[in-house]
Every structure is written in structure tokens, then in C-alpha cells.
Symmetry: D2
Subunit: 261 residues, 4 copies
């Protein structure tokens, strides 16, 4: 599937500020960026950071007055259609070392607290089947409700409150997966079907030797999803991190299917 992606950011900066931008679709890993442009105006400074995880390439900016970023891309998503529900989990001692940190608790996912619940509720299932049941459980019990969570809301709160936005759904999904000793991470993505259109956050779980996309909100499907970057949770994958207070003026994201004539 071919996606036409655009993102437009406009922020007011009352003083010079360092910013980190993570808004470009990643190269490889089941997606090809066939065209892209990024216009950042004239910041004082721009540099790309070579990506550690082989996915994202964050951009450091230093700007004052205004931050404007206009990103456009055409991305062909060609990751194989795999039904993760049938995949086995990987024995702990066979996990690659790069995967192990995604078993650990993180800022928004204090997963150890969920052991008893996960054991009791999903303990009879395994691997992809277990992940699928966790996902369905979250989607059926939570209400997607913008404005009810903030930068301090973690999986513990969301699990109790049964509501939130994509990042909250993802945090609970990650916490449940890790509590079952299945590595899980957050991916920031552009995806078809996200309503209202915006940057989106989903989960990737490690099964059968690879990472598989899971969206607890049910809005995105792997074939219509372009990864931006991955990390332990929302603390790692923000599309924009400002190292001083800044003010949103406007922000727009659009993801459409491109049907070649």
C-alpha cells in the first residue's frame, strides 16, 4: 500500500530553544520512503543524529521566534501480512540482548504491578494468542476520550480509568505484554484510519524472532502504517521534544492512501 503523508508543525518560541524532532517515516523495516521533503525554515542550527535502533533519525534544531516544520512523503508499506495471533513467544533466554530492555519497566509502564492480573486473566494463553486477547480486552473495555490524560498519565492510571488516547492504550498494552514476559515497545507512526488524524502511537511486540505491530485502539492496520520511531514508551518517541517551554500555534497531520493511476 502506498501512503501520502504530510505533517505541518507551527510553534511559537519565546526564547531560543533546543528541539528534537522525530517526524520522518523510517527507512526500511517493511516500508520504503519513495519521496520525501522536509522544510524546517531557517533555524539557527540543524543536525541529524544517526539512529541507534536502525529506525529513526532524530533531528536536533535550535530555533527562536518560530518553529515551522513541513514534512511530506510517499511511503510504500510492503511488510508481509502476518497474523501475529498464531506466532509463538520466544523463550526468555533466547531473546537477543537488544530486545531484553523491552522487558523492563519504563516511565509509563510499571509492568511488574500487572503480573497477577495478567496471570489470572490471560495465563492459559501463549504468545500471539495471548497478545491478541490482551489487545481485544483493552479495546473492548476502554473508551477513546481525548482530553482525559496528560504527560503524567501512565499505564496504572489508564488501567483503572479505562480511557485515554492512543498513547494510553499503548502504555496499557505494553504493560500487560511485559507482565507476561513478552517484550513490547512503543512505535510512533503515521497510519490510515486514525480519527481524528494525528500522530499515532501503537505497540510492537517481539514474537517468533521479530517485532509485530499491535494497535489496541483498533484504528490502525500494519499495512496502512508507516513507522517513525520506536522506544520503551512515550518518553522515547515524542515527535517533538522542546528543552524550554514552547507554545502550539497549529499542527496538522494527514495520511491518505495513494492509488496510482
Amino acid at each position: 500500500m502506498k501512503l501520502e503523508i504530510s505533517a505541518s508543525l507551527n510553534y511559537r518560541l519565546s526564547e531560543p530553544v533546543d528541539l528534537m524532532l522525530q517526524i520522518e517515516a523510517a527507512v526500511g523495516h517493511g516500508q520504503q520512503v519513495v519521496e520525501s521533503s522536509l522544510d524546517l525554515g531557517n533555524p539557527e542550527f540543524v543536525s541529524r543524529v544517526p539512529a541507534v535502533d536502525g529506525l529513526c533519525e532524530p533531528i536536533w534544531l535550535r530555533a527562536s521566534g518560530t518553529l515551522r516544520a513541513e514534512y511530506r512523503a510517499a511511503v510504500v508499506v510492503d511488510r508481509p501480512a502476518v497474523d501475529f495471533r498464531t506466532l509463538p513467544e520466544v523463550a526468555l533466554h533466547r531473546l537477543p540482548s537488544a530486545v531484553v530492555p523491552y522487558l523492563n519497566e519504563s516511565r509509563y509502564c510499571p509492568s511488574n504491578k500487572f503480573h497477577a492480573f495478567v496471570e489470572r486473566r490471560f495465563g492459559e494463553h501463549e504468545g500471539g494468542s495471548k497478545i491478541a486477547r490482551m489487545r481485544d480486552w483493552i479495546e473492548s473495555r476502554f473508551t477513546y476520550l481525548p482530553g482525559t490524560s496528560d504527560a503524567d498519565t501512565g499505564a496504572l492510571d489508564s488501567f483503572v480509568e479505562r480511557r485515554g488516547v492512543c498513547r494510553d492504550y499503548a502504555h496499557v498494552m505494553i504493560a500487560l505484554a511485559r507482565a507476561a514476559h513478552i517484550p513490547a515497545r512503543m512505535a510512533s507512526v503515521y497510519a490510515l484510519g486514525v480519527d481524528p488524524q494525528d500522530f499515532h502511537a501503537i505497540v510492537e511486540v517481539y514474537l517468533d524472532g521479530g517485532w509485530y505491530m499491535v494497535d489496541a485502539t483498533g484504528m490502525a492496520r500494519p499495512e496502512g502504517t508507516a513507522r517513525i520511531c520506536v522506544g520503551r514508551d512515550a518518553a522515547d518517541v515524542a515527535f517533538l521534544t522542546a528543552y524550554r517551554a514552547i507554545e502550539l500555534v497549529e499542527q496538522r497531520v494527514s495520511v491518505k492512501e495513494l492509488v496510482d493511476a
Copy 2:
């Protein structure tokens, strides 16, 4: 300085359990492991995980009945004596990508909450001088008090309660450093001067292009400290992670200076 290190772990396992062990002194990075032995008895399974960070090499075990681990090593610490207090900080956009995650909030270090305090209290200082003042501030205001914190205690609690053990001191130090946009991570170590002797946790801050050790408890000095492994906070560097409940029988750590005849 040459350190004679021993660690002895004895746990009761009521059922077969996967365990991850991180108790060996790391190779390189200012320390040479001149001799070492690790006796793990006869677990069902043992495998080493090649280290991602170039420091630690965790061991996966699967055991039942009992876990016994006897580790002995002689380690020559030869890291150069550097006074980090005079070192400059690195501009954000010059941070290597592998260092950037250590700016982010983590499980026990919600550093964004500390911005205003850090700006007000330490804002006029920079780099190593700022770190030194943060360290001194913590040491002078906190009381080292075993038994007052647990696996759920984070930097927010410790900052208010003004007490804890090495990991709590380290979490507050990390939170303050990151709030000042200086990368900081936790290192698990063996160190001379830790009283009572035990596994110890300190902080490493990124200044002037390298990682420097800081111990907010004031007990350990870099020249008497052997790194085991590093991570974002205590969620990453546990010496023993059990993927089922286990029961401590006995545990002993000893670190002595070896004076060659």
C-alpha cells in the same frame, strides 16, 4: 587500584524459574578483570547475552530448587583521575545518539517534574560544577536509611522524603541531572567504602564527551569502583531478575583492596 571482589547469592526457588544475573565486573572502560570465576552450580540452562552497551554481559539461567552463584574476581581499576567538577557539558545537538536516551524520563526518574527546582537552585552553574552542586545538595540533605524504600520508590518520593539507600540517592541525582539536560544513567558497581557491604548503585553523567562517575551517597570513589553494568535506572541494572517469585536465603558481597606484596 586492585580490588578483590566476591559475591555469593543463595535463593530458594519453589518452581522452575528464569533468572537474569548481572553480577560480573565489566571488561574494559577503565578497569581490567585480571582474574575471575563464576560458579553457578548446575542450573538447567545457562547462556550469556552479548552486551549491547559494551559493558555488561548478562547471564540467563533457568533453575529450580536453588540458585547458588559464587563470583570472585580481581579487578584493576585504572581509569584516569579526572575531576569532573571542571568539565563542560555537551551541547544537546552534539550528543551522540546512544547518549540521547539518557536525557529521557525513565521508570524511577520522572525528571521533567524537576525543571523548575533545578533551574532555580542550580541554574547559575554549568556542567561538572552544576553536577557537583547537585551531588553535594543531595548528600547534605538526605539520610541514608535502609528499610525506608522499596521496589516502587522513585525519585519523586525520595526527593520529598529525603532518605533512602544508594539506589534512591542515585535516582534523585539522575532526575536532577536530566532536568538540567545533562545525560545521566545508573551504574551497578562493586565499590570500596560501601557500608554495609553490598551491591552498590551510583550515577554516571555525560560531560565533555565521556561518562563520569558520581556517587551521591559519598561512599564510593571512582578509583575504588568496578562497574558491573549501566542502564537508565534501577529497572535496567538489577543484579538478579527473577521471572517468578523467589526467596532470599543468603547474600554476601565483599570488596577489598588487594595490596600486592
Copy 3:
């Protein structure tokens, strides 16, 4: 039913300390204290505080060196056997003002977070029937596990962790009831059936114009329970509050049925 109650407290005090003791069975409200004795040794100071809620009469002590308290009582419990499951709830605007505070969030019971869960899970039921289903839900999903919670553990943690002791069960029960707009409070009690024997905490809910006992642990029954005092949650009903650090030496509680010859 007639209960023979004894409680024995022995604490070491390293300096003079103010203490508040709430260990005497309350007078009235469905129970008669037919005999009682309280031996407090020779503290520097003792005074009783006339009870606000008409139930408990806390004792202030000032002591040094040692606190010893020996309480013995025979209590006839004669509260009418009422099946609260059939009782209606009281319309909010008909709640007496003394009852209204028990709708509010408290230290350990941030009940507003539970609205969506309660509405979804128990929304089709009402009054006593709703309370009964909440109680059964907790008992069937939680594991009674001493040592897994502490003075900082609230209903949010316990709801996620699905384990704890009587006070944790009670906090979750209170949070669920208040989230359904049914007033709920904690009662400290002596009760038959508590294993191991100790001070016990249960919940009282306000239905049909009165307070009714509910024990989410399933251990205590109203006819075998003698109230000590009530409050919003564990922050109010501690059997012993010390205004300096003190050290437990020994503590024993015994509750038996007295069968008159």
C-alpha cells in the same frame, strides 16, 4: 453473639513520644461492651478524647522507654441480621450531611478514577445488590498476601496488583462504592474468623439510611464483629499512631466466641 477480645501491644520508644491509641471496642451501635479493662502501665500522660463520630474514643498518651497496652473485653454483638443485598441506596440529595464526606476521595481511595470501570462493570445493579457484586468481584479476583503492601499502598495500586491485606481489600471496596456514589467508610474491628488473628479492617456502606458492614476479604461476619472506630480510610483508623518513630517488640490480638455456660 458474645466475643472475648484481647489485645496486647509492646513497643520500644527511644525517646519521649506522643501516641494515639484506638483499640477499645466502641460502645453502642449494635454492640454492648459488658466488661473491659485497659492497662497502659505508667505513661507520663493519658487522656481520652470524646468521640466525634459517636463511636470511637481515642486515647492520647505520652510515654518513653516502653509502651505496653493490655486490653481485654467481653462484647455482646446484637446488631440485627440484615441482608444488605436487598437494601436500596439513598438518593444523593437525601444523604445526611455527616454522611456526605464519605462520598469524597480520600488518602487511599481516589475513587473518581474508578467511575468508568464501576459504571461498565456494575452499572446495571443498584444499592445493596451493587455493593454485593463489588464485594464478590474483589474477593474472587484478589489474593490475600501479607507483606506485599505498605503504608503507601492505595486503592489504585491494589486494584492493579490484585493482592494485599484487609486494609487493601477495604480501600478498593471503598473506592468502588464511592465511584458509584454510595457512601463508604473504613471500620477498624475485632472479628471472629480473621486468620491470622490481628486487628482487622472492613468497610461500612451507607444504604437505606444506615451503615452496613461489608468485608471484601470474606473473613468477618457482622454478627462476629466488634467495631473499634470508623473513618474515611486507613489514615483515620490506625490502632496506634506514633508521632515519632517507634519499634515493635510484640503485638497479639485474640478474638473468641464466648459461650456462656
Copy 4:
């Protein structure tokens, strides 16, 4: 001093909802309500709840479609000008029982965590002098910043973040006072000097046998302050509690000094 007070509330209700309103200046206790009117439109139901604390008289409403409340009053504040800084604290065992609950931890004020800080920072002072130093400490270190806290923000967060609005200042003040074993409660008030004008929250501390007003924000003075009601913290004194989600349309508060011709 004579105050001219008006408050106007306008909320949209998408379904019939129970509401509790606490917006009328209290009668007595250092203030006389010389004139007042309250127009609630035509709700389905209105009832006043006789006040427990002798201060506030909450109103229960049941309304649908719209909630409009127009309150106007002239209040003469005649509480004696007392400098609380010179007042002694009351020995714990001499506290009236109605005052004791204000020593306990509450929803937003987990005061026990602040013991070490309070002992170290303010331990050499006593009574009103200690309270004054706590107040000054908060005012000088915190920034009044609307929009940075919400209904979930407690004293722990605010103490670390060093910012917030009146309720956050009050929660930290209450936590510090209780940590020093001085009873403290929250009062909702109308006050001259609050900028921007709004419902305001201050603290009352129990010293020398009475309750004294303390405003950590420094905006309100006792002689220009009319109490509405008091409680353990913000969980008790909300001017409007809705037992279903409602939507703010408009809200205005005005407090002026009335100078009689």
C-alpha cells in the same frame, strides 16, 4: 471590612445530574452575611444540607439542560486582627477531637512523607513562627502558574514541581503543617486581591485553640477574606461537584471592597 461578592456559574448538562454547590459565604466565625441572594433558576430539586462543621451549608441540586447559579452577597468581615506568627501550638493531647482528623493524611496531602524535610528545615521553630516560615518558604520558591496542575495533582507533585495555583500552594502548606503535627485544613473563600478573580483556596491552621488563616500564595489577607467552607483538602471543598460529566459555559467571580458612603 465589607465585601461585595458575586459569583455566576453557567454549565451545560447533557443529561439529568446531581450536583452539590458550595458557593455561599458562611455565617458567623468572624464574618456576617448582611445581605445575600442566590438564584438557581428552576432545577428539578434543591435542598440544603445542615452543615456539620458549623460553617458551610451545601446545596444539593438535581438539574438537566443547564445549571445557572447567581450568587450575590455583602459580607462584613470582623475577625480580630491576630498575628498568628506569635501564637503557640497546642500540645497533641490537648487537641479537641474535632480537630484531630486535620492531623491525618488526606487525598492530596500525604503529609507523613514530609517529616524529614520539615524537621530539618523548620525543626528549630515552633507554632505560629514555624507556620510563617513554611508559608514564606512556599511563596518564595513556587511560581503561580495556571494550567500546570489538574484534579489529580497532589502536594507531592507540587512540592517537586514548585508551581501551581492556589489549591496546590494550599496542599503543600497543609502537608508541611501536618508533618510538623500542627492541624491544618483547606478553606474555600472569596477574597480581595485574588488575581485573576476566582474562587480561592487558602489554609487554616490550628494554633492556640483556634483556626487561623494562612495564604501561601500571598494574595489574600484575613480581613479581606470571606470563608465559604472548610475541609481536609480540595476533595472536600469544591464549589461545585457534579455526579456526572458536565460542561463549563461560563463562570465569573467578583470580590470588591464596599465602602459605605
